[in-house]
């Protein structure tokens, strides 16, 4: 990604060093309305994937008094190094698959935070 300040070079070097240790292979699936998006071909990416602890919560978030259903889930984030990523822009509704983890789990992208200058952060829901 274009950067013309010294701090941009330092930033890119730092993120690349961190990723060299923490990254894992993740398959990105780009979907539109639940179907494969022909304008954005699927690809893999090397990036850190962080998962939080699972917590039990009510099915009706915040409104749980009269609902008995409960879910146990945790949030996850995929943080892609912007400087080294040249693929299509992910959107909410896309899916990812962690190829290096046991069971190769899937997630669905809930939100995309692309305003950070270091990383493209995808907030993920369990699939």
């Amino acid at each position: 990604m274009a950067g013309n300040a010294l701090f941009h070079d330092l930033r890119d070097e730092l993120v690349a060093e961190v990723d060299a240790v923490m990254e894992e292979t993740v398959q990105l699936y780009f979907l539109a309305n639940g179907k494969s998006d022909p304008t954005r071909p699927n690809r893999t990416v090397e990036a850190p994937l962080r998962t939080g602890a699972e917590k039990t919560s009510s099915a009706a978030a915040g409104n749980g008094a009269s609902w008995r259903m409960r879910i146990a889930a945790g949030k996850a984030e995929l943080s892609i190094d912007m400087a080294r990523y040249d693929g299509p822009q992910p959107q909410a509704g896309d899916k990812i698959r962690a190829l290096d983890r046991p069971g190769q789990p899937y997630w669905q992208v809930a939100n995309v935070d692309d305003r950070s200058h270091t990383r493209l952060v995808l907030e993920l829901d369990q699939l």
Binding site: N33, W67, I71, A72
Partner: protein
Amino acid sequence: MSLARLALRISAVEALRGRTLVADNVLDSELGALDFSADGTVRTARTKPFISVYTDDGDAEIDGNEPRGLHAGGMCQLVFEIGVAAAMVAGIDPETGESHLAAGIPVTDQALEYYLDMTARQIADALTDPGNPWGKICRGVMLSMRKMERRRAGNGEDGLKLAAHQLRIHCAIMDDPVRGEVQDPASPFMAFLDALDVAAAGDSPVAAYAIYAAAIRAEIAGADEDWENLQRRLGATAGEILTLGRGPLAGDEDRATPPLAAGTTEIAGMAPVETNS
């Protein structure tokens, strides 16, 4: 909280089994949380779309005619919670990432909501179906509906996208059977016990049904005098039941109520009258 609620809930669960989009995944009073394992191939049947049936709070207004009417049925809330999450849909294509709710229906928020609406409608169809034996028992135990609440909820913040509908039926239910009262075998409650035995002998997923049926029969067994049944239903003391004009004769201190063999009635100013049965 009472046998009538037990009958209502179990008959509702069994009436829905196999008759809605969730097929056999009808859960009774489920307490635990839904959890999805990382490996999609090892998930249990529980992580498919489900209907969970509960019987919630209910009040029974006791009027002055039944001083301690502990068998009163009163009101009850029969709750159906239907849940479906994108994570429940099996078979994500490892090449394209697509998954489908059914042939031709990709998994979108709208498709999940359609699934919930359809399933809720099928609940109504299953419970009102004249040919559904468990539905017939459920309708017999539920005397009348007073109110029906439909609610929806969705959770998109806690790491799992779940859409859920709740159908809450406020209904009046039958009174509990009294111990020692001879029951009509065609009554809904006795039909419920027979159906439990039949289900346990067949391929019902709940093998304990036969044990429930045996325990309930033992709880209400007996063949008491009808004044004893009345005393139980009203929760009356011996004095109260005599005051009502029911109950054993004053001379029958053991309350054994033997059949009448002979009796003498003394009326002032007349000769005693003998009565022979």
